[in-house]
C-alpha cells in the first residue's frame, strides 16, 4: 500500500517538474516505468494545452553469481534508455479541428526488456483511437548448451500491439473497429526423437508464432436497453521447425477462430437483466513432416519417417444470463445462469514408418467435449446501515465426453467415455461497519463435487475469508486472512491441500512531506498427495508432502524536501522457509519416499533494497538517481544464487 505525500495540486503553485519527480517516486527504483504519469499544468499552443515530460538516462547493472537466473527474474541491462515519457495535447474549448486530445506515454524504450507505449487521439463526439504496444523479452533458464560455459539459450521476444477505434463514442449508436497483433520469436525448446524406442532428446528450435485478430462491433442504446455485438476473426500461425545434421522437421500449424459476441443490458428501477453470449468456431490445420536418420544404440543404421496431418475444430458456445432484482430497498437478489459448451474434434492421420522394421503405426484424433451448466443465486440483505449479510447457492453440472475417432475406412472408433460431475456449493458472509472508518468483512464457502476430474481437483472444499479495513485521515490499516482447504481422496490415494494467506498493510502520511507504507504477507501451503512411481524396477508408492511458508514484506519511506528534492527508500523481501530444514535430505517429517525428500520443500530468499533521489536542477529539469539491488538465494542449490546491482541516472524535463 502506498500513499502519496500531499503534494500541491496543479494550479496551486506546483510546477510540472516537481510533480513529475514526485510521481516518479511511486515505484521501485529501477522500474522507472510504471509510475503514475506526471501531470504538469502545461502550456498553451494555439488552441491547445500541451504538457509533456521526458525522462532519459543511462541504466546500468552488474551481476555476480548465476547470470541466467538473473536474466530470468530481473533482466535489466545496460544502456541509454528513454525511461519514461508522456505527452498530451488538449483543446482548450473541446472543439479542436481534427482532434481534442492526443496522449502518448512510453516506458522503457531503448532496449529495456519491458517496453510499452500507449497512444490515444480523439475528437469529442466523433472518434476515439487507442493504441497499446508492448514488448517483452523472456529469458528462462533452459538447457545447458554451451558446454563448460553453461550458456542457456531459451530466449524469446513477445510483441503485442492493440488498436481500437470507436466512432461516435458519445452517441447512442457507436461503432467499434479493432486489430490486434501478437508475435513471438526466438529460441524455444523442442525435442528430436531417437532411433531407439521412445527416447527423445531436447533441442532448441526457432519459435515463429503470429496471432492476428480483426474485429468490428456496434453498441446501440435504445429505450433503456443496451445491445453490444462484436464479430471477430482470429488468425494464428505457428511455423516452428528444426533442421539438424540428420534430422529435419517441418510443422506448420495455421488456423482461424471467427467469433461472435453479444452483450445485452437493461436496468430500470428495481430490476436489471444482463447477458453475454458468444460463439467461437476455432479451426486449425496442421502438418508434421519429420525424418531422422542415423544409428541406433546397437550401432545399426536406422531411419524413421513421420507424417501427421489433419484439421481440428473447437467450436465454443457460451452464455451467461443474469437477472437482478431489488424488491425492497435493503434486499437484493441476483440469479445467474451460465452455460459453456466446447467440443474439440477433427480428423487426423498419423503415420510412422520405420525403415528397419518396415512397421507402420497410426494414431487418431481424440474427441473431447465439455458441457457445463451452472446456476447460482445470491441474496444481499442490509439489516442496518452498518450491518449487512449475503448468502448464495450454486449448482453446476459438467459433462465430459471423450472418444478416439477413426479416420480410415474400416478402422473402428474407440469407445466413448462420459463422466458427470455435479457441484453444490453455498456461501455466506457478513459485513460490518462497527465504527466510523472501520469495516469488517467475513465470508465462507463450502463446496462438494461428486466426480472430480483429477486427483487434485476440487472435491470437498471450503474457503474462509476475513477482511478488516480502517481509515482515519491519512492513516490506512488493512488486514486480511484467506484460507482454502480441499480434500480429494479415494481408496487408493489421499489428497489434501491447505492454503492460508494472512496479510496486513499500513500506510500513513503524517506530514505533508513524509509518507510511510509497509506490508507483510505470509502464505502457508501444505499439500499431501498420493504418489506411485518407479525407482528402478521397483514401484514405489506413498505420499508426497509439499510445504511452503512464504513470507513477504515491503517497506517504503517517501520524503519530499520542499520543491528541491524528493527521496524514496524501500525494501522488499520474499522468503520461503519451507519446512524449516537447512538441507535437502534427512528430514524426519514429510514424505518418506527418497525421490520426494529433496523436492518437498524449496527454501529460497529474494530480497531487494532500493533508493531513488530526484533533485530539481532548474524550474523544469530534474536529475534522478536510482539504485536497486536484487539478491536471490536458493538454500538447496547454491548454483542458482545471484546478486545484482542495478540502477540508473536520468534527467527529467517537463513543460
Amino acid at each position: 500500500m502506498t500513499l502519496q505525500p500531499r503534494y500541491s495540486r496543479p494550479g496551486r503553485g506546483a510546477t510540472g517538474a516537481s510533480l513529475a519527480a514526485a510521481a516518479c517516486l511511486l515505484l521501485p527504483a529501477v522500474c522507472a516505468a510504471q509510475q503514475t504519469d506526471a501531470r504538469s499544468q502545461g502550456g498553451g499552443w494555439g488552441d491547445y494545452t500541451v504538457s509533456s515530460s521526458f525522462e532519459t538516462g543511462y541504466r546500468f547493472q552488474t551481476v555476480s553469481g548465476n547470470d541466467a537466473e538473473y536474466r530470468s527474474t530481473v533482466n535489466f541491462g545496460n544502456g541509454i534508455k528513454l525511461l519514461d515519457n508522456s505527452f498530451t495535447m488538449n483543446s482548450k474549448d473541446g472543439h479542436g479541428r481534427w482532434f481534442d486530445e492526443i496522449l502518448l506515454t512510453t516506458r522503457g524504450l531503448g532496449g529495456d526488456p519491458y517496453e510499452s507505449a500507449a497512444f490515444r487521439v480523439q475528437k469529442n463526439r466523433w472518434y476515439r483511437y487507442d493504441l497499446l504496444w508492448r514488448r517483452n523479452d523472456y529469458y528462462n533458464p533452459g538447457l545447458t548448451t554451451g558446454g563448460a560455459t553453461g550458456a542457456q539459450l531459451l530466449n524469446t521476444g513477445y510483441d503485442s500491439q492493440n488498436h481500437d477505434l470507436t466512432i461516435l463514442p458519445q452517441s447512442k449508436i457507436q461503432i467499434f473497429l479493432g486489430y490486434t497483433r501478437d508475435s513471438q520469436s526466438g529460441a524455444g525448446i523442442s525435442t528430436v526423437p531417437g532411433l531407439d524406442a521412445t527416447a527423445v532428446y531436447s533441442v532448441f528450435v526457432n519459435v515463429r508464432r503470429l496471432r492476428s485478430e480483426y474485429r468490428v462491433g456496434n453498441e446501440i442504446r435504445l429505450h433503456g436497453f443496451r445491445l453490444t455485438w462484436t464479430h471477430g476473426w482470429e488468425d494464428f500461425k505457428d511455423d516452428g521447425g528444426a533442421t539438424l545434421n540428420s534430422f529435419s522437421r517441418t510443422e506448420p500449424y495455421h488456423g482461424t477462430s471467427p467469433y461472435w459476441r453479444v452483450g445485452l443490458f437493461y436496468e430500470r428501477g428495481w430490476f436489471a437483466v444482463n447477458g453475454r453470449f458468444s460463439y467461437t468456431a476455432g479451426q486449425r490445420g496442421y502438418l508434421l513432416d519429420e525424418s531422422t536418420a542415423g544409428f541406433n544404440l546397437a550401432g545399426a543404421a536406422a531411419n524413421r519417417q513421420v507424417a501427421a496431418y489433419g484439421t481440428a475444430q473447437r467450436p465454443v458456445a457460451a452464455g451467461n444470463l443474469t437477472i437482478s432484482a431489488q424488491p425492497a430497498s435493503k434486499l437484493a437478489v441476483v440469479n445467474q445462469t451460465s452455460t459453456y459448451n466446447v467440443r474439440t474434434e477433427g480428423n487426423s492421420a498419423y503415420t510412422e514408418f520405420d525403415n528397419s522394421t518396415q512397421a507402420v503405426q497410426y494414431a487418431f484424433f481424440e474427441y473431447l467435449g465439455i458441457f457445463t451448466v451452472a446456476n447460482r443465486t445470491n441474496v444481499n440483505y442490509q439489516a442496518k446501515r452498518w450491518l449487512s449479510f449475503h448468502g448464495g447457492y450454486q449448482y453446476t453440472d459438467r459433462r465430459i465426453r471423450s472418444v478416439q475417432q477413426a479416420v480410415f475406412a474400416g478402422a473402428p472408433a474407440g469407445p466413448a467415455y462420459e463422466q458427470v460431475n455435479i457441484l453444490n456449493s453455498g456461501l455466506g458472509g457478513v459485513r460490518l461497519n462497527a465504527l466510523k472508518g472501520l469495516t469488517l468483512t467475513a465470508e465462507g464457502e463450502v463446496g462438494r463435487t461428486n466426480h472430480p476430474f483429477a486427483a487434485k481437483s476440487d472435491q470437498n472444499y471450503h474457503t474462509l475469508l476475513g477482511h478488516l479495513r480502517y481509515q482515519y485521515k491519512s492513516l490506512r490499516l488493512l488486514a486480511a486472512s484467506h484460507a482454502d482447504y480441499n480434500t480429494n481422496s479415494t481408496a487408493f490415494t489421499a489428497y489434501s491441500s491447505k492454503s492460508r494467506v494472512n496479510s496486513a498493510s499500513a500506510s500513513w502520511a503524517p506530514l505533508g512531506w513524509l509518507a510511510l507504507d509497509a506490508s507483510y504477507s505470509k502464505l502457508h501451503l501444505d499439500t499431501v498427495g498420493g504418489i506411485a512411481y518407479f525407482a528402478g524396477a521397483q514401484l514405489a508408492s506413498g505420499q508426497s508432502y509439499y510445504i511452503g511458508n512464504i513470507h513477504s514484506g515491503s517497506l517504503g519511506v517517501r520524503v519530499v524536501l520542499k520543491k528541491l528534492a524528493t527521496c524514496y527508500l524501500g525494501y522488499s523481501i520474499v522468503q520461503d522457509t519451507g519446512d524449516g530444514r537447512g538441507n535437502p535430505f534427512g528430514n524426519a517429517t514429510g514424505s518418506s519416499l527418497p525421490a520426494f525428500q529433496a523436492a518437498q520443500t524449496y527454501p529460497i530468499r529474494f530480497q531487494s533494497p532500493m533508493a531513488r533521489v530526484s533533485i530539481r536542477l532548474v524550474e523544469n529539469v530534474r536529475a534522478n538517481f536510482g539504485y536497486q539491488r536484487y539478491g536471490f538465494r536458493d538454500d538447496f542449490h547454491s548454483l542458482q544464487d545471484f546478486g545484482s546491482n542495478t540502477g540508473y541516472v536520468s534527467l527529467t524535463w517537463s513543460f
Binding site: Q34, R226, Y340, G447, G529, D576, Q600
Partner: protein, 313 residues
Amino acid sequence: MALRFSRTTDYRLALAAILTALVAGAQTPPNQYVGSAACKDCHSDVWRTFNQNPHFKSVASGKEKPADTGCEGCHGPGDRHIQAFGGRETIVAFSTMSRPQVLDACLRCHSQTMSRANIRRSSHTLNGVACTDCHLIHGTPARRFLLAKAQTELCYQCHANVRADFSMPFKHRVNEGFMACTDCHNPHGSFAPEWRMASKPKMTGTGAADEEPCLKCHSEKRGPFAYEHPPVRIEGCEICHSPHGSTNSRLLRRPVVFTMCLECHNGAPGFSLRGTGDPNPSQAHNMTDPRYQNCTTCHVRIHGSNSDSLFRR
C-alpha cells in the same frame, strides 16, 4: 350525501393553492443550474485543467442537459451554493456522501458500457468500495481513467497478498509496467467464469471464447490440438500455475516439475477421461534419476500436441 363544491368554490381553492405555492417558493426558491462557467471564479484550480479532464466533453458538447453538464452534472445545481458563498450543505458534495450514493451518482452516466454491467453486484461494490476510492476526479496525476495512483498501487492498497505475489522472483511483469491488473481482471465486476465449475475466480476477464484470460497472450496454448492435455482444458491453467507469481520457475505450483505431475499421474482409479486414473510413468522413468525429474524437458508440448499423444513434440 357526497360533499360537492360549487364551481366558484373550486376556483377559490385552486387560487389559494397557487398563492400558497408561490409564497412557499418565494421563501425557498428552487435551486437553479447556473452553468460550469460560474464555478471557475472560486474553483479556478479545478477549472484551469478541466479541459484535460474527460468530463469536459459534456461542457464542450453544448447539447447535454444542464443536469448532465460539467460541474453540475455531478454536483447538482449550483445556484444556492453561489448564493451562500460556498459550503458543503448547499451542493452535492461527494465527501459527505455514502459509498452507495457515490456509486449511484457515477453510474447515472457510467453504467452505459458493458464492461460495467456487473458493477452493482461485483465484489468491490459488495465490500463497500466506491468509485472515488480508485478514481480522483479533479487533478488526478494519472493520464488515463482518472486513476488516483498508478493502477498497481491502487490494487495493492487492499490486496497486500497480491503485492506479495508480484514480489516473487517469478511473476508476470506487473511491477515493471509491462502488464496491468486490468489485463486479466475487471475491477468493475465481471460475469462468473464459465470455464470453471465454481464461482472462483472472481472479477476475472475472459479470452475470445469466454475462456481463461491467460489465452489472450499465450495463444499458442489455446489449440485446438489433436491431443489435448485434458486438465488444461477442463480444470484450467491454475491447476499447475500460480498466475500472479511464484517462487518456482514458470509460475509452477511446485518447485520440481515431477512432483506436480505425479500428484495426478499416480494411477488412482476414478480420475481422468476414462475413469481409469492418470497413468503413472512407465518403468523406463526412474524417478530417482534427476534426468527424469523435469518431465517437460521431453514432454515439451504438455499443453497439447498434434502429433504425439505423449506431448513430446
